[in-house]
Subunit: 364 residues, 2 copies
């Protein structure tokens, strides 16, 4: 992996990554020379016991720009700058122009009745390709593999800041779920605390290890391989599986077959297997209904707070939003009001469908 | 409140409620005479530490029927039966024909790698009106008031079963969030355990009371009345407020101004005030952008497991899904992957907008 770091005219950081050495063919651009003016705040939700992020400057963020303007494409005309320069690179990471969290967030003015503080953290955009038409699953294998290295690198860079305790790389895909830019890209949120989903997983995984004397993931992988019911494809050092407790109909987890806290802990061979499993899983979801499946993909790593998490089950969780052709899964009363999901199909049946498919790209 | 109980031809229960005595004008119908064949199961999610419901029979549930068939309208032609009879009544409650949970759910066949059990509970449909075009907020005040009594009655009826530990009445509204029947109606889920959102609130509210010596709600109401920043309308014994920690842009809580575990604990006067506050809040959300606001409404009561919950903050939580005209809030990476919400607007600004409106009905 090659990596070069730059500074945009508005002060934001840009990092270019490539399988070959990075070469610029123009200036590093920014859509606007104005520095980002973000003063995000966090407020405490006393009933749910969690933080809520407020970023009032985000309401006017880019929304469905016309096709002739793609801020994630390389800049062709310096008078019409995008977020990225022309040149030789495969992926790019830059500070989000509309961040929900910033490292130097100031303490907000006190507001009566509010338990608030500055929204300290970082929001990055990860551009997966120079090709605006592509998809993550459709990228060449070496580029999917590169993305694992990029996610690992960002986790390390962000986690090196003592203010950052948790890093979440993710991809939202699909106009059905409000994605405003179709150029293949993801995001990274870095938090100055451990957010609720991660905190809960730490609790459950520690309790499992205390009770059983070994990490949950070991038993899970052994059990899934023995059951042969829900593994979509086994790549040896990594596999894809519809977990027996899937909340989304075609929910797919892509994971190394040993416990790991971070992507950067994995060997080259393990990352190769994980990349192959990820590409295969994403193409199967597209092939399932013959449409580009809208989904949320998250990379679930352990906290970057310096503690050791030997029981952590590193995994890529993919939540596909279609539960049948043309039928979206919506989070309704039981999911949002009670926190308990209803799923219309047993994971064994969903896995059987995904296994039987020929993984392939589909047109937009 | 008047109430009459019936049995449908397929064996499901039907209860009719009215502000006047209920009178049938025909047989009690069912769209099909076939008994419901539901074998829902619960599976344990070991990483999130929560149950997931599987109801494979639900995948083929009614989806966008043609306008001439409305299963929630009173039956006009006995050869074309709906869920409800003709007659004099204002609201109806019946067992969901596609339940995610049933009281007599059998233990499922063991599946390798699965920690599962029968999906014990109950799912009911609540029809708010005989008028298929209406909305909850647009109902006459006495009918909104009746709904509080109906919710209170159902909570009591369901909670009287020793298998039921938690009851969640809710309304999903809006084709934008997958609602398939436009006739004004809600649902009730009754669980045989305390689901995650309620469990978390029990923890936080108990901890608050232990630390401060009084229920959180007392401090909250006092603080909001003093701050005068986020109360949408104060009805004395009840009020509506954009909570200072709102996760949705126009999130509105409608609540009695003293702690209460259940609707049935409230006095007649308190229920009058709560109904007035609820109607007013819903009409403001419709008036906000001049469209029927898609939303999730949940009634957050304490567990019905027989324990006392003196610190419980009874409330109706309304999550409006539009964050701006034509712009939906989608739950993306941070919300689903981390459990932490990003909101584009401060609650003080949202409350100011809602306060300035003239609450009114809007056409569909």
């Amino acid at each position: 992996m090659y990596k070069s770091e730059f500074r945009k005219p508005d002060g934001r950081a840009l990092t270019l990554y490539g399988v070959k050495p990075v070469e610029l063919a123009g200036e590093v651009p920014s859509p606007s020379p104005e520095p980002v003016e973000a003063r995000p705040v966090l407020r405490w939700h006393p009933v749910r016991g969690e933080w809520v992020m407020y970023a009032a400057h985000r309401l006017n963020r880019t929304f469905m720009p016309p096709p002739e303007y793609n801020p994630l494409a390389p800049t062709r005309d310096p008078h019409n700058p995008t977020e990225l320069p022309a040149g030789r690179y495969d992926m790019a990471v830059f500070d989000n122009r509309f961040p929900s969290l910033v490292l130097d967030a100031p303490a907000p003015e006190p507001v009566p009745g509010v338990q608030g503080r500055g929204g300290v953290g970082k929001c990055e955009v990860v551009v997966f390709s120079q090709d605006p038409q592509g998809t993550l699953g459709g990228l060449p294998p070496e580029q999917v593999r590169l993305l694992l290295d990029v996610w690992a690198d960002r986790t390390g860079v962000l986690g090196a800041d003592p203010r950052i305790h948790s890093v979440l790389p993710f991809e939202n895909r699909g106009v059905e779920v409000g994605v405003t830019l179709h150029h293949p890209h993801g995001q990274i949120y870095a938090y100055d605390h451990i957010p609720p989903v991660q905190a809960r997983a730490l609790e459950t995984m520690r309790a499992y290890r205390q009770e059983h004397g070994r990490p949950w993931l070991e038993d899970f992988v052994r059990g899934e391989r023995a059951a042969k019911l829900r593994i979509v494809r086994d790549h040896g050092a990594a596999l894809s599986v519809v977990p027996p407790f899937a909340r989304y109909t075609y929910e797919t987890w892509v994971l190394p077959t040993r416990p790991a806290a971070f992507l950067h802990e994995l060997s080259e061979a393990e990352r190769d297997a994980l990349a192959a499993a990820l590409k295969d899983a994403l193409l199967r979801l597209d092939a399932l209904f013959g449409v580009r499946m809208p989904y949320l993909l998250t990379v679930q790593q352990a906290p970057v707070d310096g503690a050791a998490y030997p029981e952590w089950p590193l995994r890529v969780e993919i939540f596909p939003y279609l539960r049948a052709p043309g039928r979206m899964k919506y989070l309704a009363g039981t999911e949002q009001g009670a926190g308990e999901f209803a799923n219309d199909k047993l994971p064994e049946a969903a896995a059987q469908e995904l296994r039987s498919l020929n993984p392939q790209e589909v047109s937009p």
